[in-house]
């Protein structure tokens, strides 16, 4: 019991993920600034933001469902952290995890987006409701591509649903991203990650210039700080999932720690460059993109991995 609580709260759970996610969020903002020839924020900026948000007043909507409004960020943070623990544990302690934890991670990674839209609907704000409707459509469009991509990975690892088996299969037969189907899967999961993190071009659910932060419009103070923390954790969890499933997982001894950090930074760099070189899509364009192109790529990857290419 103590061990599980340690895993959940300290390492590799909440405190570790929020700190690493904050650093990744800083690198995201810094890379954005360098792309635009600016200097960018200081290193501790994400933690200054969190400290300030906890310091500020939290306002509850008068005509909303207050309990749901306040519970949504808590559930978002806890499920994101739990997903991160399940993703990182097989890398930190080889052989841990259980059969089927890939499916658990898939469901846990959906919950943050779901709670954002519940919180937005509970706030009773019309722009929040608009953002929630877009978030809902976005979830519907990317989840199918995501589960198809995970299916292809399961096939490539020899029909295993356990993350530690997937890592072991990559250590024996080379990383999955090295094959043709692996490259297709990398593209699919990269765009799904982009949509799950609600970054440009898939940020239409918050769209701060258009519907004023959409789903987060009514959140302030500590509740918004919890949402920020959940977003930092997701910014760590989804690239970590990509590294685990496609790039051979994290090594934790000696020089391979550096190698693990480089894999993570590479994916953050890709996400940030996509975010900086694309305009925001409309929701129908995003749905078409996922339903048609990403599903097509994922199905092609399944077929290719069935014949071992």
């Amino acid at each position: 019991m103590i061990k599980e609580l340690f895993y959940f709260l300290i390492f590799p759970g909440m405190i570790f993920s929020v700190v690493v996610g904050g650093v990744l969020s800083w690198s995201d903002r810094k890379i954005t600034a360098r792309v635009q020839f600016r200097k960018g924020p200081p290193f501790l900026q994400p933690f200054y933001d969190l400290g300030k948000l906890f310091y500020k007043e939290t306002i509850l909507p008068r005509h909303g469902a207050r309990l749901t409004f306040l519970a949504a960020p808590v559930f978002a943070l806890f499920s994101a952290t739990l997903a991160n623990v399940f993703i990182l544990l097989p890398s930190v302690f080889p052989g841990s995890g259980f059969s089927g934890d890939l499916i658990v991670v898939f469901y846990l990674l959906t919950i943050p987006s779901l709670t954002y839209l519940l919180g937005a609907l509970a706030s009773g704000n019309p722009l929040g409701a608009l953002g929630a409707s877009r978030e809902m459509k976005l979830i519907i469009s990317y989840e199918l591509a995501f589960i198809l991509a995970l299916t292809a990975i399961v096939i490539k690892s020899g029909m295993s649903l356990s993350i530690s088996d997937i890592i072991a299969a990559q250590q024996e037969g080379g990383v999955f991203a090295g094959s043709l189907s692996g490259v297709l899967l990398f593209v699919v999961i990269l765009f799904v990650t982009q949509a799950k993190l609600a970054l440009v071009p898939f940020d239409m659910s918050e769209a701060e210039t258009e519907i004023a932060h959409g789903v987060f419009i009514e959140y302030s103070g500590s509740a918004y700080a919890l949402i920020k923390m959940a977003r930092y954790v997701m910014l760590f969890a989804l690239p970590a999932l990509m590294v685990t499933l496609l790039l051979g997982g994290f090594g934790m001894e000696g020089i391979s720690i550096l190698w693990s950090v480089l894999k993570l930074v590479l994916i953050i760099l890709l996400i940030t460059l996509i975010r900086n070189t694309n305009p925001r899509l409309r929701i129908d364009q995003a749905m078409k993109f996922f339903f048609l192109w990403m599903n097509l790529l994922a199905v092609a990857a399944i077929v290719l991995s069935l014949i071992n290419i």
Binding site: R29, Y48, Y55, E57, I59, S220
Partner: protein, 136 residues
């Protein structure tokens, strides 16, 4: 100074309220986000909703229609909140001060923490105002 107020000064999120502005101040505010001035160095961001804001930046002359909206925004904002009166119109009313729809400079309606005068203020003047606000 406590940790909370230290973080507050390091991460000011700005909400921009344009009254009956002629749009010149608004362009100068956007200038501060460009590579040459880059206020993100100080952790500042422009946000789209008053619920996330730490600074209420009021530009343009405030007429009778804007007055109630400005008050409502001030009441909706989570405290602590800093208010900045921006440009000649925000500080004193400028050339509109004697107009019959003019409803007062900003400091007659809500308490103001810093004034940035100019028509429009240069980005250097805005940065000077920010430094004043941070040292307050």
């Amino acid at each position: 100074m406590g940790l909370g107020s230290y973080c507050f000064k390091k991460s000011l999120w700005v909400f921009h309220f344009g009254g009956a502005s002629c749009n010149n101040c608004d362009i100068e505010i956007l200038d501060c986000l460009t590579p040459r001035y880059d206020i993100e160095r100080f952790g500042m961001q422009l946000v789209g909703t008053i619920r996330h804001a730490d600074v209420l930046l009021v530009s343009g002359s405030i007429n009778r229609k804007c007055r109630d909206r400005l008050l409502e925004l001030y009441n909706q904002a989570p405290k602590p909140l800093l208010v900045v009166a921006f440009g000649a119109c925000g500080c004193t009313g400028g050339i509109f001060a004697e107009g019959n729809t003019f409803a007062g400079p900003v400091d007659k309606i809500i308490p103001v923490d810093a004034y940035i005068p100019g028509c429009p203020p240069k980005p250097e003047a805005i940065l000077a105002g920010i430094v004043k606000l941070l040292n307050k």
